[in-house]
Every structure is written in structure tokens, then in C-alpha cells.
Symmetry: C2
DNA sequence: TTGTATGCGTTATCAG
DNA sequence: CTGATAACGCATACAA
């Protein structure tokens, strides 16, 4: 059995209230008794029981982090940064990997809320759908604790969105490619999550602005079944048999790498005959040859801002409901521009 | 304010004890009252307060997961699998990213133990050092809760190790390469964690068994400063100026990919002039060209076994202190054998 | 089968 | 500055 506040109070010869006060850094304690208590605590190695503490404080000093799949290279980085930032603000992280199914997500949210977390962070734009019904669980959650959303926007009381302006990033990337003289651009994506939709919007806007004809035909969704690199490459090869393009913009780096591999295995020279841009600026960009130009969405800055906002909200301060950063095109060797 | 067991007992017209009983599936409850209570709970959306529950049960149904860096591609996968397995056994995961510093690790352990977790999982062999002093914190922890170690072995009461036989895997991989006629093999590594040491041992054993002369000269530690892909490639290039080798075995896939990039950028043909083997069988193996042969350490199986063992221990069953799996060489295009 | 009363380890509100 | 004492929400031994 570990020691309680009573044991310490006995040994120190003071009441439990005093112990509690020194523990919580109350100013109204005499220096000498404070020191005495501290010494006893040190000597006997007492640590407060956080469950009991939670009952009194009505806070577990814990934040629930939900993400679909923490092994996803992008989400993993986000989770890492979040945990680090929370930690340094005195909060712990309860991690839940929900998968991509809506009902599962709802269940996990209920579960995690019953743990009386102080806040909820939804990592990844896949938590926000297109219909009201799909997003009801976010609203429900926000009635209990502040909800933070990374990489998607959702306007509602007590929910805060931190994201990168994917539409604008994609618009600028596409415009750059168009500006370099490439007009037939293949747009490769796999999911239409919130950010997936924004990216596609940005691509479309740029193509429209450039009065490119028939660009819709070069918007290509890679089916979910294509889960391996080989499968994706094969899919692109197949697509290329009936379409012509001299640029590829992908909604993430995996697809970008697949595009590079498609080119190299078909003796298409990059960037002379084909330019490629990926998204996320992950380590994968450095692994392929040539290295992949990619859009960086400032994840580290976003996560820092998110935690800062959350801590502010938890401390009762007024905080911005929506914080938007802008992405940056990181130029590597799959583009000439 | 969320509802308590008292609110529900009022609405249902029974005592709180009865509510508690149906909540905990006690058999001594009449079917009809059980149903009545369930209905009320359903209707009002009551969820028990887990902090209060923890005080009675002395368990938070939570496991602490410690890892150095959950954004590391290998550790992220491990964390993901662990969380999933724990979840399906009714446990939640408290994630802590400790970094690689020893003191920091110790502090995090203290912190997480004060949260009264039911068990501790140390993810990654970097948690086990070579000296007794370095590992004392593991022993201390094991006095409070069962400690599981993934990817390293540490023999002590109430600590359980689940790992892949890295030494043997590396031995076999090296032997394969030697068998294909390549005798001058560059061994590339960056850290000497528990598994790092085992891998190196396996390499050495194979080279010794083959009576290869001077193999020690081709054991090369990539300095920590080389954090980017370019830096690693440059380092290999530099090393190659004063050494000759026709095979490279790397202690992880990043180094393996760097080896591939070194070769392609220097017009060294793979696998004709140079064979390469990586470690971890991560997605990176598919991103480089040619694709990287790598050693798979059966992470999914390991994590499943770990959680199974942990749950067994928590339920008071006798469980194996050490579970060892063997790795598998996944052949891709950087090797001929 | 159900209800009552007590304990779990803290925090917080009062008095002193 | 310090000490009683009442919450906090639930589990459970003991009664009924």
C-alpha cells in the first residue's frame, strides 16, 4: 500500500489540510512547517493519489487524444508533438486510435469522456465529415469539455480549430506548376476528408483560374484497395495508358513517392518530362530518388498553437476559435520551378 | 454537471447499491429491475466517473506506455498496435514520450506511476542500458506495477520481456549475404541500445564464423549529428573513399535507404555491385529504388503477445517472463540472394 | 434480491 | 497561519 496524506500528516505532526496546502503551493503556510512537511514527503517517498485528487479538483490533468491511426506517418508526428507540448504544460495524454469508422469514433469519444479528461483533441481532418449527422458527436463532446481539432475546421461553441490553409497551399503549388509551363496535371488523392476536400478545391481553383480545359479528367482517386506501393504504382501506370500528363500533384507523400516510382520504372525522366509534388513534407520525400518536392503544413507550429489555445481555454481565457497557418512549398528535385 | 449514480438511483426508484450492481454485472439483481435501471441509464446518458470508480476498485484500467519518440516510424507502429490491443481488452493507454535522456525517463516513470496506472509498457530497447544503475528505475517500477518491455530483455521479478531475436536475425541476414559471395560487408548503425548491441553481436558472430578478416574495420557508426538523409549519404560517401565493400547491412531502414541513395548517386549498381539489407521492414523499404530488402521483426505479433501477457499478469495468472520471436528476411530488390 | 452505511484520498470551506 | 469537517462518486460489507 502506498502512503496517504494521513500517514504524512501523522509523521509530520500537522493536519492533512496543511499537507494539502504545501502540496498545492498555497502561500498561507509558515516556511518552517512547509519545510518540515516537504522533508517527510521526501523521506517517505509519498506521491498523491491522482484519482482522489481528480475527485476533489474535478480534473485529471489529462487530455484525450483521438486519432484514426497513430502509426500513420503524419498523424504519428502530430501525436508526438502534442504529447510533448501537453506534458510541458502539466497535462498527460490519453491516446485512442479510433480507426476510420464513424461509429467506432463515436464510441471511443464516449469512452474517453467517461474518463473525465479535461479536453479532447481530434487529430486529423477525417474527424470532420460533410453531413450534420456525422459531426453531431463533436457537438455533444463540446458540451462536456473543450474540443480541439487539428487540421480541420468546425465552427461551434467550445470547439477550436487549428489548421493549415490546405486550399491555399494547394492553389499556390498548382499555380507554380502551371507557371512553369505544365498544363496537363494529374491530381492524385485517396480520401476526401476535410483537408482532402480543401486540397482538391485548391487544385481546381488554380486550374480554373488558368483556364485549363478538361482538367477534371485528370483528377484521379486511387482506390482504397491499393494499399501497397506496388499497387499504387500499377494503378498510375494503368491510368497513364489512357491519359497524358506532364505533372503530378499528390495529396500526400506516399502517393507522391508512388508517382516518382511510376516515372522511374517507366523511364520517364524527372523533372524534365514529369514534375511531381507531394504533401506533408515527411521523411518519405527524402527516401525516393529524385527527392520529392512537397508541401509542408507546419505541423510543429500548429500543434504548439493548439496546445497553447487549449491551455488558455482550460484556464478560462478567451481564445481564438480558429487559427489558420499557411503551408510552404519545399522544393526538392522532382520539380524545376 | 454530469449525472451521478445518485441521480440515476432517484429516477429509477432504487438504491445506489443496485445501480452499482447492474453497472458491474452482479448476478444478484432481478431481471426486471436490471432492465429498468439500464433503460434509465440509457435514457439519461449516464457514464460512471472513472476517478471515483478507481478509488473503490484501486484500478484505473489504464496502462502507461512509455516510448522515447512516438514519431519514430518503428515506435509509432508499436504504440499503435499496443493501443489497439489494450483497447480491446478494456484498458486505455496513457502515452508518454520521454526522449532518450535517462533522467528524463526516470522522471516520466515517477509521474506516470503517480497516476496509478495498472501497468507499464516500455517501448523500445533504449529503455535498457548496460549498467545496473541505468536500469534501477525499471526495478523500482516493478515493485509497484508489472513492467513490460518491448524489444529488450531484462530479467527481474514482475518485469516481462517480449522481443525479437535480433542477434539471430542479423546473424542469418549476414550469413545469407556471405553465402552469396560478398565478403566485405559494411555494417552501418547509429545507436547501441539493447537491440542495437544484439544486432551488432549477430553481425560479428556471422563474420567470425566465416573467418572474414578485418571485418571490424567495416563496422561504422553514423554519428548522431547526421540527422538528415543527405548528411547520412554524405557520411557514407566519405567512408567509402577509404574503404572497399560490396555489401551494406544497416541497423535500420533509414540507414538502409541512405545506403541505396549513396549507391545510386554514385552510379554503383544495386544489387550487382552492391547489396543492401535494412532493418524493420518499414514503409521506407518501398519508397526507395530499388526497393530495400529488410528484416521484419514481427512487431504486430510481438505487441499482441505483450498485451496478452500483461493482461494475464493483471489477472493473476502465471506468465512467461521472456517471450522471444524470430525475425524474417523480406527479400526485395537490393539483394540477389 | 435490495438498501444502508462506511471507506477510498483528496480538496475546499469554514472556524479558530 | 492551522485544523476540523464536509463534500466528491462509487464499491461493498453488512443488514434486512
Amino acid at each position: 500500500m502506498s502512503l496517504t496524506i494521513y500517514d504524512i500528516s501523522q509523521k509530520a505532526g500537522v493536519s492533512i489540510a496543511t499537507i494539502s496546502r504545501v502540496l498545492n503551493g498555497s502561500p498561507k503556510v509558515k516556511e518552517s512547517t512547509k519545510k518540515k512537511v516537504m522533508d517527510i514527503i521526501e523521506e517517505y517517498g509519498y506521491t498523491p493519489n491522482s484519482s482522489a485528487r481528480a475527485m476533489g479538483l474535478k480534473s485529471m490533468k489529462t487530455i484525450g487524444i483521438l486519432c484514426a491511426d497513430s502509426s500513420d506517418i503524419f498523424l504519428a508526428k502530430a501525436v508526438y508533438y502534442l504529447e510533448q507540448n501537453l506534458q510541458s504544460n502539466g497535462y498527460e495524454s490519453l491516446l485512442c486510435c479510433t480507426g476510420y469508422n464513424l461509429d467506432a469514433k463515436k464510441n471511443y469519444v464516449d469512452l474517453i469522456l467517461s474518463k473525465k479528461v479535461d479536453g479532447l483533441i481530434l487529430v486529423g481532418s477525417n474527424f470532420i465529415g460533410t453531413t450534420e449527422d456525422e459531426n453531431q458527436y463533436v457537438i455533444d463532446s463540446s458540451e462536456k469539455v473543450p474540443v480541439m481539432i487539428l487540421n480541420a475546421s468546425f465552427r461551434h461553441d467550445n470547439v477550436y480549430s487549428i489548421l493549415c490553409d490546405d486550399m491555399n497551399s494547394m492553389y499556390r503549388a498548382t499555380t507554380s506548376m502551371l507557371g512553369s509551363g505544365i498544363e496537363d496535371i494529374l491530381y492524385l488523392y485517396n480520401s476526401l476528408s476535410y483537408s482532402g476536400r480543401k486540397k482538391l478545391d485548391g487544385f481546381r481553383m488554380a486550374m480554373q483560374g488558368h483556364h485549363s480545359p478538361n482538367y477534371e479528367e485528370l483528377i484521379c482517386q486511387v482506390p482504397e484497395e491499393c494499399s501497397s506501393m506496388n499497387a499504387i504504382v500499377a494503378y498510375i501506370e494503368d491510368f497513364a495508358r489512357s491519359h497524358t500528363f506532364h505533372g503530378i500533384i499528390a495529396s500526400d507523400d506516399i502517393l507522391g513517392v508512388a508517382a516518382v516510382k511510376y516515372a522511374t520504372s517507366n523511364n520517364i525522366s524527372i523533372p524534365d518530362e514529369l514534375s511531381v509534388i507531394g504533401y506533408n513534407n515527411s521523411i518519405l520525400t527524402e527516401c525516393c530518388t529524385p527527392t520529392l518536392t512537397s508541401i509542408d503544413n507546419q505541423l510543429e507550429i500548429q500543434t504548439r498553437s493548439l496546445v497553447k489555445t487549449l491551455i488558455g481555454v482550460l484556464n478560462g481565457r478567451e481564445m481564438p476559435q480558429k487559427t489558420v497557418f499557411s503551408g510552404a512549398l519545399i522544393k526538392r528535385n522532382t520539380t524545376k520551378f
